[in-house]
Symmetry: C2
């Protein structure tokens, strides 16, 4: 597999710009927020299938990857004073607090995104001190991981008899 | 949201190249193939939760989006003589036939991908005669839809007591 970003063919093809990728990410985050909202409070924390984590726990993983993640993407510092979380941090105790935290992360992403240095997406880094790869790979991983676990939330909702929000609606 | 692909800031930032995006897609497809393989034959066709589709049906949706989809991405023709499917086409009758079809689609994507014209990712089209948007948006949708439904397959497997393949392993 040819992966030279400077090949003549590659350099002529713009696939997605930073503005569009930010909108792509935030559009997914808007949908995930609606999935969180769709859970009854108790089921958000206690419902699961096949020994999996609750959707509150899955949501907290998305939050940890997104912030401090965005700080690492921008600066190489994968911790954050404002979002001092790691993968062992439990979710906030209420749905309302989860949604408030979700919205703070949304704002943090919008604030830090324009500070991503030119060329940064192709740089290698050790994300969260653990995962080696390019920033592009890591960022796509964060978004894909959210889609993956949100899809699991759809099954939880269906099992609870609740119609999930439409997957194609990113408004 | 600023979406001008020709803005000075955007034009300096290469996020992902065609080569890397093809590898990103095929890496996801390799993982999805392992999820299909992990299902017992009967459960692939008959197991579901909360009235959802079987994983065979979800897999067929991925196949329909991917091919003829790749033909539409390349040429604007959203049908394919080789893959004459639409959204009402049922999955092949056995797991082995599904996997064989999956592999043909993988080959088709690899064959047609280098023929995507320069500038095509920013063009608007009416995908499958139904969905209006840029080719970039449509292609990301196809990949995201696969991640979304595959995540649901993970819940089916867990509910069946089967350990799914690792999400992070795209080998």
């Amino acid at each position: 597999m040819e992966t030279n970003v400077n090949s003549p063919e590659s350099s002529q093809q713009v696939i997605i710009t930073p503005d569009l990728l930010l909108e792509h990410w935030q559009a997914h985050r808007r949908l995930t927020r609606r999935v969180i909202e769709a859970f009854p409070e108790n089921d958000l924390y206690n419902f699961s299938i096949g020994g999996m984590r609750s959707f509150a726990q899955l949501t907290m993983e998305m939050i940890v990857l997104s912030a401090p993640g965005i700080n690492g993407i921008v600066s190489g510092n994968w911790t954050s004073e404002k979002f001092p979380f790691d993968f062992s941090t439990p979710p906030p105790a209420t749905k309302n607090e989860i949604l408030t935290l979700w919205d703070s992360v949304t704002d943090e992403i919008n604030t830090l995104w324009p500070q991503i240095p030119v060329g940064r997406f192709q740089e290698n880094d050790l994300a969260f001190g653990m995962y080696e790869g390019t920033i592009q790979y890591m960022l796509f991983y964060v978004i894909d991981n959210e889609i993956h676990h949100r899809g699991q939330g759809y099954v939880y909702l269906r099992a609870l008899g609740i119609e999930p929000p439409a997957f194609w609606d990113r408004s």
